[in-house]
């Protein structure tokens, strides 16, 4: 069981992110939940590509040629930048909702609306 510790961490982080999305009413906290979910996906990709005793896939002054898989790391890089773009969009939505309604709580927004 202990050798699967990174995957267990992935499961725990995923459930924490889903709980934040499902249970919280604050828009900022929901956005943090989405970011935590994205971090868990990144950690899952990185730990899928790990090879026992491998080094980073860079040949500059490398001590050996036994390297971890480079493709999940590249996909992770892509995913990080896309997550940054989406969190910028979500934050600006939250700022605009706060300007329009005066609050970022979902229940109060619903009450104010109807």
């Amino acid at each position: 069981m202990l050798w699967n510790l990174p995957y267990l961490a992935v499961v725990i982080i995923t459930v924490i992110g889903l709980a934040a999305i499902l249970l919280k009413k604050n828009l900022i906290k929901m956005m943090l939940g989405i970011n935590i979910l994205q971090s868990s996906a990144n950690l899952f990709l990185i730990s899928l590509g790990y090879r026992e005793g491998g080094i980073a896939p860079i040949y500059t002054l490398a001590p050996s040629t036994h390297m971890v898989l480079p493709t999940p790391q590249a996909l992770c890089l892509t995913s990080i930048v896309i997550g940054l773009a989406t969190s910028a969009l979500m934050l600006s939505f939250a700022v605009i909702i706060h300007k329009k309604y005066g609050t970022v709580d979902l229940d109060q927004i619903r009450r104010l609306q109807g």
Partner: protein, 159 residues
Amino acid sequence: MSKLVRFAADILYPVVLIFGLYIVAHGHITPGGGFQGGAVIATGVALVIVAYGYREVTQWIGKGGLMAREVVGLLGFIGTALVAFIFGMPFFYNYLAGQGGLFGVPVTYGPNPGELNTGGTVPLMNFAVGIEVWGGLALVILYLLSGLVPHDDHEKEGS
């Protein structure tokens, strides 16, 4: 902010800028690349905004210039990939690697001390993407801050 913070920001901003450009330029032989270096440079812009306040910074760093940087970066990235059509190669072919010219020193298999003049089109794309991320992230920071500044002329933000 206080004078001490402004002085520190004056000293640290060129250092952060040069460090980000170093990460961008050495992206093909050391850990780093366009996205990471651009993010570091955008952090330097955020440092200046923290130290001097929104209203003063927008007089030096215009939104139009940052948007131009972003557009130039994206078009440069796509254009570098499109040049491969001229040589009769497929899209994104690395037409500079191993040719002996600019960024064209051939690299053999195995660990080596690293040579800056290698990599083919990858350093050019690193620079293009670095410029794009610099403009994009700094623009996002400036826009998000412009929502927080009160628009009737109170001068209480920043200083």
